[in-house]
């Protein structure tokens, strides 16, 4: 690990009037790593991505991208990075090919190279048949895959993706991730902001952000180890009643409603028997109760929930 980090962020801070959107953030990303920025809406993910991409100036702190200081020389950094904003940023009134050509030209990619890369990228995402179609007429998933194609046409060293798979169908998401993984072999560094925690689990390392601050930064597995107490899943036809019955029980730290029931964080797995008794006393219907392995989502809820209690 003597190689310098591909992305080095130190004390990054950005204020909007009274709001501090990003507050003294520091992390580093190794070459060939997929690094995830995870957090609820308003955590500052987009602001961080914009500062990494050199399109927004931080109030304090530094961003070094492959040895280039993004804050002091954003134009130099832009030649070797690619940024995919949250909102679809391509021209809907241009065709797939025209969009690709536009971005290739802006990065000075010669025609032959452009054709070769476009062909490979479009084939990987199943977009070959749509090259003549207007971008505005593509489905949500195809738009994002076109966005990825355009942002990879100049073979960047670092790829910054801001919630790239929001509103994308599962098949396109799978294509998307397959393309991302294939980049890692070429030594490309990927920073991805995501609200999907199942996607977060695919990252090598995660930074958990809350209100502009870094809460935790580690591999998904290590983060789960750090989770205090035990996670208990209760399947129930009436999750709200389960929540109100248990949220004030001793040892219960957080209660989160999930699709078909409730996830609880308790200080000790031994409390399950107490919880069962409590539900029976109150006559709350439930089908199943068991300790489960936490997902990143649970972890996040546990960490943020406890923080809220502390505050």
């Amino acid at each position: 690990m003597t190689e310098p980090a591909a992305v080095e962020v130190a004390s990054l801070t950005k204020r909007f009037a009274a709001l501090t959107a990003v507050d003294g953030l520091s992390f580093s990303v190794a070459r060939g790593e997929i690094f995830g920025l995870v957090g609820p809406d308003g955590a500052g993910k987009t602001t961080v991505m914009r500062m990494l991409a050199g399109v927004m100036r931080p109030d304090a702190g530094t961003v070094i991208l492959d040895g280039v200081d993004v804050v002091s020389d954003p134009e130099l950094a832009k030649r070797h990075l690619s940024y995919m904003p949250q909102r679809f940023g391509l021209y809907e009134d241009l065709t797939v090919d025209e969009n690709i050509r536009f971005y290739a030209d802006l990065f000075g990619i010669a025609r032959g190279l452009r054709e070769e890369r476009a062909k490979r990228l479009l084939a990987a995402s199943g977009m070959e048949p749509f090259r003549g179609r207007l971008a505005g007429k593509l489905s949500g998933g195809m738009k994002q895959k076109l966005g990825l194609t355009c942002s990879l046409i100049h073979a960047p060293k670092a790829v910054l993706l801001d919630e790239p798979t929001t509103g994308v169908d599962p098949v396109s998401r799978r294509d998307f991730w397959r393309i991302l993984y294939s980049l890692l072999g070429e030594g490309v560094t990927i920073v991805i902001a995501t609200a999907y925690l199942d996607e977060a689990e695919r990252c090598h390392r995660l930074a958990l952000l809350d209100r502009g601050r870094l809460i935790q930064c580690d591999t998904p597995a290590a983060l789960k180890q750090k989770m205090p107490g035990a996670l208990v899943a209760i399947a129930s036809p009436d999750p709200r009643r389960v929540r109100s019955a248990l949220e004030d029980e001793p040892g219960v730290q957080t209660v989160v409603l999930v699709g078909d029931g409730v996830h609880l964080v308790v200080d000790d797995a031994g409390r399950i028997a107490e919880l069962e008794r409590r539900l029976a006393d109150q006559g709350v219907p439930y089908e199943h109760i068991a300790r489960v392995t936490p997902s990143v989502e649970d972890l996040f809820a546990a960490l943020l929930g406890r923080k809220a209690e502390d505050g």
Binding site: V55, P74, L81, Y83, F102, D105, L106, F107, G108
Partner: protein, 378 residues
């Protein structure tokens, strides 16, 4: 500056204009419509004023006088009244702008004293038109007077020198053979170009913001200068095409004589376009919605060019402080140039002053525009 990136921006802009019906409409229909509206709408010639006549005498002379009104192209006799009530009704109801009443003793006094009078009742709610109509009425009466004098001379067997030609002061600017159109149309070309040019370029940057394409664009290595030149180059060509369209309409449709050279026209039009497009671009950088930018562009160009460019309202007749303000209006220089090129046929050396003014204007606007756009989101 990188030629490949410049070309990429220009090419993209052309594709977008070509595929956007609204832009195409601004490019082609707006100049034609504005040329027609301003060309016909602003017309200082007043003709076919509806009038009412009331002949209280019914003599040979009174009829001859009223025939003079009926024959004049300035007046249309739309009502022949038989009492004062009808005259009042015609003026009050707005069907007539003027009533000519011949008194009962018209011929008698004419024969006896050689002088008589006719009453003209004018609707002065539009006092400018009323003054003009009174001037025309005086002209018709003067004409009649001459005929009467000639007739008297013939009758009395006296030889008489032909009376001097009638020259009313007002006739200098209500001329008969559409000269005001010749005077106005070249200026209309300038006004239309200012409006259309600013409209087009006001959409360039605001469109990127509105459609969400700006964030990606500023993350590429493209420079602000490449963005500006790449975006404005197609509109410069479109502006020149629109200029050709307007000028052809001026010459072929409005039959304004063109006496200058195409070189002078092309050179000065290019300069004017730089100023016009630059202003639209500045607005586009400042305002991030297309509709907002186009409204502001309309506001900023419409009133100053229409009122202060001197295209219809002569600058030297304005109060001194307003005259100074006109130097800030780009169309002022171009209007002066176009009028001279069209009507006087003078070359560039004779137009040194307005050309220098336009150059200075274009340089300042280009300088500001080049610095306006920043590749940042905050």
């Amino acid at each position: 500056m990188n030629a490949l990136r410049l070309r990429a921006i220009a090419r993209k802009e052309v594709l977008q204009v070509w595929r956007d019906p609204r832009s195409l409409m601004i490019v082609l229909l707006m100049p034609i419509m504005q040329m027609l509206m301003l060309g016909y709408g602003v017309n200082l010639d007043l003709k076919h004023i509806p009038i009412c006549t009331y002949d209280r005498e019914g003599s040979q002379h009174s009829e001859a006088l009223l025939k003079g009104f009926a024959a004049s192209e300035y007046f249309d006799v739309v009502k022949v009244a038989t009492d004062y009530a009808a005259v009042t009704a015609a003026i009050d109801g707005g069907t007539c702008r003027m009533a000519v009443v011949v008194p009962q003793d018209f011929s008698e006094r004419l024969t006896d004293t050689g002088a008589s009078s006719v009453q003209a009742i004018l609707d002065a709610s539009d006092d400018n038109s009323a003054t003009i109509a009174a001037g025309y009425a005086q002209a018709v009466i003067d004409q009649f007077e001459q005929n009467v004098q000639i007739w008297f001379a013939g009758n009395h067997g006296q030889s008489m020198a032909p009376p001097p030609p009638i020259s009313l002061e007002s006739r200098v600017w209500f001329n008969e053979d559409l000269e005001s159109r010749n005077f106005i149309i070249p200026g209309v070309v300038a006004v239309v170009m200012a409006l259309v040019g600013a409209q087009l370029s006001s959409l360039t940057i605001s469109r990127e913001w509105e459609r969400g394409t700006m964030e990606l664009l500023v993350s590429t290595p493209v420079t602000p200068m490449e963005v500006m030149l790449g975006k404005l180059a197609p509109y410069f060509v479109i502006g020149l095409l629109d200029a050709v369209l307007c000028l052809v309409m001026a010459v072929l449709w409005f039959a304004v004589p063109f006496r200058g050279t195409l070189l002078t026209l092309f050179a000065t039009t290019s300069l004017f376009l730089v100023a016009v497009l630059g202003i639209g671009y500045l607005i586009s950088v400042a305002i991030r919605s297309q509709i907002g930018a186009s409204q502001i562009a309309l506001l900023v160009t419409m009133l100053p060019t229409a009122l202060l460019s001197g295209y219809a309202f002569p600058i030297d007749q304005m109060p001194a402080p307003i005259q100074w303000v006109t130097y800030l209006v780009h169309a002022r220089y171009y209007v002066t140039i176009l009028k001279a090129v069209f009507l006087k046929g003078v070359g560039m050396t004779a137009l040194l002053e307005p050309i220098l003014g336009l150059i200075l204007y274009a340089v300042i606007v280009a300088f500001l525009a080049a610095r306006a756009f920043r590749k940042r989101l905050d």
